[in-house]
Symmetry: C2
Subunit: 335 residues, 2 copies
DNA sequence: CTGTTAGCGCGTTCAA
DNA sequence: TTGAACGCGCTAACAG
């Protein structure tokens, strides 16, 4: 590859002049600049981002760590991050922690070693506080995406899970459901905990006893499944709400195994849900996460933080939309 | 951040010794090495990947350009690439071309400037040959993923689209379908062309006249939709096969608009398809791309090419699986 | 308006 | 077994 010296020689100028026309960082006479430009195309010169970054100690790149590259919601977030990143002239370095704390630690290390200008941790595992604290010195700005930890001093982007679940629940209660089974999953995950909070909050608001309902929490899929099956076997539950796509898969499987149809036998709603949901039956009532926009917002927060390293951390919550579909319609109580 | 000099000073050795214990590149006496190791933990030193890369002219990173980060198949491929990359100690730099030739060119430029050790172009637009040819000098190994261009001198990874479509079609013919509508889409895309080839090949093999069937090609969604609607309106077609997920969406929408049910009125099958397809009706007969494995294979090819820069390019085709489901079952001709 | 030069942090000869 | 010193390609003082 041609280097700046080659260009300089060919244009009969110094390397600093070449650098300056490249970066537009000081005035260069018309003719001189043209000579440089010609030399550049003639030699096929391309700026070496590595050397440049080393010298400026800025890589113009950001790191994204996601906890589960398998989920579709990830794709949307990553897509949003990538989109916004190029918009700001930033390159995206991607890593996947696979919900594994150790891998996450390694991923962050790698990205830090690569000197990314900023870090976005999307749905990071426990987001082990020690992890980032341990890198006290000169650690770049960090944005937490999707899972919000109010106690941590970072900029964060999430959705208004609590509010949305509250609305969803109130509507189900209006429809006459008195025994709802909520598959809440691992409530150590902020997103899921917020959703469950929204549920209990709605019950309080409507004056319904929590004891009438089935709240199914836990980390283990098998346990969750059998807990749900027990709830369904009681014959009480007339509605099931799943807190995420994996939990919806689990719940729908359990429903099918129990021979229950949606929505004839039981109503169903889920967070996140499935792509192209309206093409298939049952058409599921779904809370759509603005995943793409969340990715964009994270980058936005990041570049602002880059400009203003100080100032207290901000938390941005994006509004979710509830797509009401057939799965919550056939209930007698419906208008 | 602490640098090698800090470590060296603290361990009372030279920087070269530090470097050598770091990389295990020459013998260092037990005690000396221990002093260095201690100094490293004491200072919290971390190797600067930038400087290291500049010096070794190897970044231990690879670039991945995808044409549509929105599609789920992308997520799976990227996931596979990321997985295999870390396995080989490589970092993944991601870019999205959004099916735009210009953006693709820019993305490749950026990655090249970043000196990635290799490049994977996943489902790249037209893969404009000039694009990569233009970077004749010292361009890193390039792997083409998903879309195979037999005429291009690159290592490539794809699926056996032709073979799979042939099998699928023969089975439909066996079931008694005499008028199949194939939504083939943009046949400039190798993947789609291969699938269409498989269709005509099966007809030839079975001795069926191509003229009896409806082959719907084109770039414009609206045109495709109206062509399909016309084919359906004729009342002839008893089966519809879609060449990709977007085409399946288009086809299913058109079927619904025409008031046709799957599979009662018309059989349906698609390539790629939808996640969790077995939880919903209609359960679609689907050709599952081994997307994750394709990503892994691409990295595999890449590291081998890194080891052996010369040698003729290889093309790897991974086997696809047909998941037969309800959407092709209800036809009278079925066994 | 332009040129000279000192590093950014590391790997790697060459000498000892 | 260890150290000194050069340079990867670039930006940014500083000098003219």
């Amino acid at each position: 590859m041609a280097t700046m010296v080659d260009v300089a020689r060919r244009a009969k100028v110094s390397v600093s002049t070449v650098s300056h026309v490249l970066n537009g960082t000081r005035n260069v006479e018309r003719e001189t600049r043209q000579r440089v430009l010609d030399a550049i195309t003639a030699t096929g010169y391309r700026q070496d981002a590595l050397a440049r970054a080393l010298r400026r100690s800025r890589t113009d790149s950001i790191g994204l760590v996601v906890s589960d590259a398998g989920e579709p919601a990830f794709a949307a977030m990553a897509h949003g991050v990538e989109h916004a990143a190029v918009e700001h002239g930033l390159t995206l370095v991607l890593a996947n922690s696979a919900e594994d704390v150790e891998r996450e630690r390694k991923a962050v290390q790698t990205l830090l070693n690569r000197r990314v200008d900023g870090l976005i941790l999307a749905r990071a595992a426990e987001s082990d506080p020690g992890l980032v604290d341990s890198l006290e010195d000169e650690k770049p700005p960090i944005i937490l995406l999707d899972r919000i930890f109010p106690s941590l001093p970072f900029d964060q982007v999430g959705a208004d899970n609590r509010e949305t679940m509250r609305t969803l629940t109130l509507r189900l209660l209006e429809q006459g459901h008195r025994h709802v089974a909520v598959v809440a999953g691992d409530t150590r995950v902020p997103t899921l905990r917020e959703r469950l909070d929204g549920f209990t909050s709605a019950l309080l608001e409507a004056g319904h006893p929590l004891g009438d309902h089935h709240v199914i929490t836990g980390t283990d899929d098998d346990e969750l499944r059998s807990a749900l099956q027990a709830a369904l076997a009681s014959g009480e539950a007339t509605a099931v709400v799943a807190g995420s796509t994996p939990l919806a898969v689990l719940a729908l499987t359990a429903l099918a195994a129990a021979g229950l149809r949606v929505p004839e036998d039981v109503a169903f709603a889920t967070f996140d849900g499935f792509d192209n949901s309206d093409l298939f039956r049952p058409q599921l009532t779904t809370v759509r996460q603005p995943a793409f926009d969340m990715g964009v917002a994270a980058v936005q927060l990041l570049v602002e933080r880059l400009r203003t390293p100080d100032g207290s951390p901000r938390t941005v919550r994006l509004r979710q939309r509830i797509d009401w579909r057939e799965s919550t319609e056939a209930w007698p109580g419906t208008a």
